[in-house]
């Protein structure tokens, strides 16, 4: 298995070596030339790699449609490209094959809770191109509300449940050693075993990514009896990605996601986007809004997208705040706080560069 994973993670590199010679031809000239976008257009569908089995991010509903924050990113891209959020072919990918699928062209983009890291971004590593982070996750700690545990210090000498062989386990060891806290790790092979042990009171705390802790908690018999400690033990910026070597396509993804951020900042929602568009069309003084919604200027053309791509994306899935609340926020079963995922104006990390 390890051998296989090594082979798979090396294969994009091999491809880069083989294809290096011919990649220059397509990306040279001015204007927007994107081989990928041409392929997507002629196919008529965006092939989007998702996890497919992650609560709040991507999963199949009973009617056979995908939902979740990641799935909405795919739908926003399809709306920006085609004006129709339904033009997506989802592809469930596991964590070991996701980069190979991207490199081989099996999928056009990843919206698969992928943590942005140096080795994945760099040309010498996986060599993929990341867009803006759509969810700032981090490793957290869940304890029973009645336990009175309020910080990591309170866990001194206590057993903690953790999935073995994951970065989660390593992060836990690192943080605890830094703070000089002695603890007993109880390691399990699968997530199900880990949470069963926690519910069976074999440990006083369980650690994983905060979004996943919240998802598991909502499946507990009494979700209100468990709380997430206000500690973040690792940085997990979950970020959509595309293949390196097609900057125009990467830009299209980047600015479509930024448009969702910007729409929230401007108070444009799924419900009022038509109204705002009419307002922009009527009022020539609102230059910023007119440019953002594509009434004026050529932002769409510069990106190789239709002029109204922002309107289409927001009409399809709403602004970033709406996507968050619907899939993982207070309106969902996960009931996550916005926390780091607030707008920069509220002290969060969601920040769109200016649309100029």
């Amino acid at each position: 298995m390890l051998q296989l994973r090594r082979l798979l993670s090396a294969s994009p590199l091999l491809l880069a070596l083989v294809m290096g010679g011919c990649a220059d031809e397509g990306s040279g000239g001015g204007g927007v030339q994107s081989e990928k976008m041409a392929t997507i257009r002629s196919r008529g569908k965006l092939v989007c790699g998702v996890d497919g089995k992650l609560p709040g991010f991507s999963f199949l509903g009973p009617d056979g449609t995908y939902s979740g924050l990641d799935a909405d990113t795919c739908r926003a891209m399809a709306a920006a490209l085609f004006g129709d959020p339904g033009q997506v072919e989802y592809r469930d990918l596991n964590s070991s094959e996701r980069f190979a699928a991207l490199a081989s062209g099996e999928v056009d983009m990843l919206a698969r809770n992928t943590t942005k890291t140096l080795s994945r971004d760099s040309a010498g590593g996986n060599g993929i191109s990341f867009g803006p982070t759509t969810f700032y996750d981090g490793q957290g700690m869940m304890v029973p509300a009645a336990s009175g545990i309020a910080s990591l210090k309170d866990l001194d000498g206590k057993p903690i449940c953790v999935e073995s062989g994951t970065t989660t386990e390593l992060n836990l060891a690192d943080r605890m050693r830094e703070q000089g806290i002695a603890y007993t790790p109880l390691k399990f092979q699968t997530g199900d075993q880990t949470y069963a042990a926690y519910l069976g009171k074999r440990c006083v705390a369980v650690t994983s990514d905060r979004s996943q802790l919240a998802a598991k908690r909502s499946g507990f018999p009494d979700p209100d009896q468990h709380v997430l400690l206000p500690v973040v033990m690792s940085k997990e910026p979950l970020t959509p990605a595309s293949i390196n070597g097609d900057p125009a396509w990467a830009d299209a993804i980047r600015w479509t996601v930024y448009a969702l951020f910007q729409a929230e900042e401007l108070g444009i929602t799924q419900a009022n986007v038509a109204e705002k568009l009419a307002e922009a069309k009527a009022n020539t003084n609102q230059a910023d809004l007119r440019r953002f919604l594509g009434v004026e200027g050529d932002f769409g053309k510069q990106l190789g997208l239709p002029a109204d791509f922002v309107v289409q994306a927001v009409t399809a899935v709403g602004n970033y705040g709406e996507i968050f609340e619907r899939n993982v926020g207070r309106a969902s079963a996960l009931k996550l706080d916005r926390a780091e995922n607030r707008q920069w104006t509220d002290g969060g990390l969601i920040y769109s560069p200016p649309f100029r």
Binding site: L4, L8, S11, L14, L15, T39, G52, K53, L54, P55, G56, F59, L60, G61, P62, D63, G64, E89, R91, D92, L93, N94, S96, E97, A100, A101, S104, G105, E106, D192, A215, K216, S218, G219, F220, P221, S332, A333, L334
Partner: protein, 403 residues
């Protein structure tokens, strides 16, 4: 006291001595307690709504709703063909069949079918029109079974010989109905899922790997070096690699090797990998069968003037395949279970569907219900394969076969 033969058997097998009796009572109590626990969980605690709400997803995955009439039609055709074959099997007496129209087994099957048709659709919470469809299909099956049993003997023998041909034709027709084309809307394989995908993958791999396996087994025993070494390399390569590795290879490497668009769809790639994988094991089972046929059989056939292919076809293979049958069916059953590995390469067969259903925030934490349903579904499929193989074994048994 215990005069009834059943009581006598129980007494002899469970309570022959005092120690036996104590052990039996202890075990019976244990079995009873765990059964009680399971029933209590199933009826009082389990939330079967997760199965009810997602029953379409488990059955056919993301198959488009407006095209599902094609699957209903296919199920109806399957029911009709089953009814016809079942009825004729009972109506036409042969050496390995009694010729009784409704033997005990059939009466049990009838009761089971009637129970399933009335209970399952209601338990799944299907709408009344959908329930009615299942009743209709079951009624159709039983009606055709009854009429074929009653009047089957009067059909001309030439027509009767054509009846088994229905099945391969129906398989091809089913493929066409499922995938579309020829005037029907195309439904790409990426939208097939659930039980439909599992059964399709397994049946395709079983049907295609059997001839492949037989050819490879013959190749391995061939006297032509190129053929022999080709077969050996193929068999040993496939048997030397875990299935999941081959599946990953098929999914990821083909995309690099063939230019975009030329590689077959990922579902078909997986189907072919399963076929090649199973073929190697079938080849070894068949080789064992071939090895067990004495060389004298071949020599005798040749001395009667049969050519080598004739001798193989008429004398050696029938004996070899009969011996290889149990091992081959075992391989097929394990192949059916191996289809769950497809969920690891992102295909939404039964296990993949189950995992995405369990990720739906509305149904979080309902893992036991989902896995139990899956286990029952797989058990049913494997039991059907096992039953079919035993019937075939009886059929091929030389002590029964017509002279």
């Amino acid at each position: 006291m215990a005069s009834h033969p059943a009581l006598k058997a129980i007494r002899r097998e469970l309570f022959a001595s005092r120690t036996d009796g104590l052990i039996s009572l202890g075990l019976l109590a244990l079995i009873g307690a765990s059964l009680l626990g399971l029933l209590r969980w199933a009826f009082l605690q389990a939330q079967w709504v997760v199965i009810q709400a997602n029953s379409t997803l488990f059955a056919v995955g993301r198959y488009p709703l407006d095209q599902q009439w094609r699957l209903w039609l296919l199920v109806a055709l399957l029911a009709m063909a089953s009814g016809l074959s079942w009825g004729l099997l009972r109506a036409i007496p042969r050496a390995d069949r009694s010729g009784v129209l409704w033997p005990l087994n059939d009466r049990i099957a009838l009761a089971l079918l009637a129970f399933l048709a009335s209970w399952a659709p209601a338990a799944l919470g299907l709408s009344v029109p959908l329930q009615a469809r299942w009743w209709l299909i079951t009624a159709l099956l039983l009606a055709i079974r009854w009429s074929a049993g009653r009047w089957g003997r009067r059909l001309p023998p030439r027509l009767l010989k054509l009846v088994p041909l229905i099945w391969p034709l129906l398989y091809l027709l089913g493929m066409a109905l499922i995938s579309g084309g020829l005037g029907l809307v195309r439904v790409p394989p990426s939208e097939w899922g659930g039980l439909l995908l599992t059964v399709l993958m397994a049946s395709f791999a079983i049907l295609a790997s059997f001839p492949l396996g037989v050819l490879m087994a013959l190749g391995r025993r061939s006297e032509l070096p190129l053929l022999r070494w080709g077969s050996v390399v193929y068999i040993e390569f496939v048997r030397g690699a875990p299935l999941i590795t081959l599946l990953f290879l098929g999914q990821n490497i083909l995309g690099f090797m063939l230019p975009g668009g030329l590689a077959p769809d990922r579902v078909w790639r997986a189907a072919w990998v399963l076929t090649f994988f199973c073929g190697a094991y079938v080849a070894e089972a068949v080789r064992a069968g071939l090895a067990s046929v004495p060389a004298g059989q071949q020599e005798a056939a040749r001395s009667l003037g049969l050519t080598v292919p004739q001798a193989l076809q008429q004398v050696v293979l029938p004996q070899a395949l009969r011996i290889a049958l149990p091992a081959t069916v075992g391989q097929f059953i394990s192949l059916l279970q191996d289809t769950t590995l497809l969920s690891l390469i992102g295909l939404l067969e039964l296990l993949g569907t189950a995992r995405t259903v369990m990720a739906n925030p509305d149904f979080l934490g309902l893992t036991a219900e989902v896995y139990l349903t899956l286990a029952v579904l797989f058990w049913c499929c494997c039991a059907a394969l096992g039953l079919g193989s035993r019937a075939l074994e009886r059929r091929l048994d030389p002590t029964h076969s017509p002279a």
